[in-house]
Symmetry: C2
């Protein structure tokens, strides 16, 4: 592998995205991407007694599904990277405790899925055969933990995003036909002083901009190199902000840019305000829609940029602003 500029790595042996899987909740099942998901749940509990246990079950079964779809015996998976939004990443730890695969816990808030893909790509480029990545989120467990108990029926402001109930998982391999991860651009923490915990898109857009520009500068590419540039998950408001900020810096992404949070729900009929969010948003949109489009050659060059807000309820109460981060991978056939 070769370092390009300050933030990008170009892989000598571009790792293959061997397979993906995704399981989502009932609201996601009513959205425009339903047909791309491996399984859609009928309710938020899936037979469990708590939302946290349901989220653990979702990531567990998503991981089992991707292993099954790949045709690999599970003991040929060398490492697993996983993370989620719950305190101390318990969805991943509990969901994957029977996995019996060497495990690295990661935390990048909603950027976790691409953080995992990046680290898996480093391992695969170095010769490790198969690395599994997974991330999850759950609307109910996230609302309970970050905002208000759902039972209160608290009204959400129009800038709020709707945490996706769902998980995505992928297996990154050192060999295979592709699609391939050709580059990774790792984000720096960016904090522009936004304090509105109900406007995460605005808080994360500057981090997405920073990684987007670094990617173009480091690789010498321009926006039109890609069939699609997809962030996950700035939501509808953050998407507008990023488009404007990029234009101000001389990068026109209007024609080929979209966001996982804008894609997963129907903005007219689903009442999710600013769109989707959560680790499971980018994970399920990539593992469902985007991987399908790559396999079908509808996309041949994709820049996937996952964004995370590195905050919690305590920091908001203590008057802190919201640091953001964004990690990108370039995926090509």
């Amino acid at each position: 592998m070769k370092k390009l500029g300050k933030q990008t790595i170009q892989f000598d042996n571009p790792p293959t995205i061997l397979e993906t899987a995704t399981i989502v909740g009932p609201k996601e099942a009513e959205g425009p991407l339903a047909k791309y998901f491996d399984k859609c749940l009928e309710d938020e509990f899936w037979g469990e007694k708590t939302w946290e246990k349901a989220e653990s079950k979702i990531i567990k079964e998503t991981v089992n599904t991707v292993i099954h779809k790949s045709g690999l015996p599970s003991d040929s998976i060398d490492y697993c990277f996983a993370g989620d939004l719950l305190n101390q990443c318990i969805s991943s730890s509990f969901g994957l405790r029977e996995l019996n695969i060497p495990f690295f816990g990661i935390f990048g808030a909603c950027s976790t899925f691409v953080e995992g893909m990046s680290l898996a790509a480093i391992f695969a480029d170095a010769g490790i055969k198969n690395v599994l990545c997974a991330a999850s989120s759950h609307f109910c467990s996230a609302e309970k933990q970050f905002r208000f108990p759902l039972e209160l029926g608290t009204q959400r402001p129009p800038s709020a995003q709707w945490t996706v109930t769902g998980a995505g998982a992928t297996i990154i391999s050192s060999s295979g036909d592709g699609p391939h991860i050709t580059h990774m651009t790792t984000g720096k923490i960016v904090d522009k002083g936004i304090k509105d915990a109900n406007n995460m898109g605005a808080a994360m857009a500057p981090a997405a901009l920073s990684t987007l520009i670094s990617h173009f500068e480091d690789t010498g590419r321009s926006p039109n190199y890609y069939d699609a540039i997809i962030t996950g998950d700035l939501g509808l408001i953050g998407k507008e902000i990023l488009t404007e900020l990029a234009m101000d810096k001389g990068y026109n992404i209007k024609s080929n840019y979209n966001d996982c949070g804008a894609l997963i729900f129907d903005k007219n009929s689903q009442d999710t305000h600013s769109g989707g969010s959560g680790c499971g948003c980018c994970a399920s949109v990539f593992s469902g829609l985007l991987f399908n489009q790559l396999k079908n050659k509808e996309l041949s060059r994709l820049l996937l940029i996952a964004t995370g807000a590195l905050t919690n309820a305590t920091t908001s109460q203590q008057g802190e602003s919201i640091p953001g981060i964004a990690h990108a991978v370039s995926i090509e056939l």
Copy 2:
């Protein structure tokens, strides 16, 4: 690099541990390792208004210290891996938001420091020049978050450990005189059904045993290969349990084994019950004492095994057991 068995990697170009730094709190400063720490604080706040902000300041200044001690310009650090125990890893995200270095958030509970060293070693072996790793914990922020508000003065049971206030940081480089990371053995999640949240040593000891045995099986080494085998942080009770469990499996580690949680406090005079814990425990004992002993050639072969309990307050309330994990690195001159 070369994979040995299921869990171990042997490095072709063993990365160098270039430098370390550590800052600890007032109780740690009264312990037997005080002289090895770069800075000892006089109180738990360090001029900040909250414990969370104090913890962020500790990890920030520890990272600044290790960069300063290394003599490297900060823009020659290629990546940073960091994590902590606070919800959504806010100590690291807020403490390091001005660092301006590509950032990977990690979560392995108290195993975080060695998880970071392992990932940094993979990067360095692949040719990345300098990678920074850091981890922190804080007694007051941890008690508040995981157990009871300190103001209640709740009595702690004898099996409880005392979360270290402190941070450790290290720079892992692709070249240098050493000490070198020659192997890493990555842990699997192990859950033996222990439910006592006040006896983390018992919950984590089976994970430590699993990684210890995998390391010996994968490398063909035996306990007496090492000058020291150090876990962090099983505490006094967990240390006894691991010693017994290892003996039952045919590995006698009695003569060269110790634990960071047992080393950092004086068990007779400091009233910490079962010893130290927290991400900052292994991080500060390695970055202070152990790195010093390696540099002075008092140790030439060290097996460092950091252990983490992948749990939180919600899972305990929901009746769950405590999954553990342990990551090991072999460090040699």
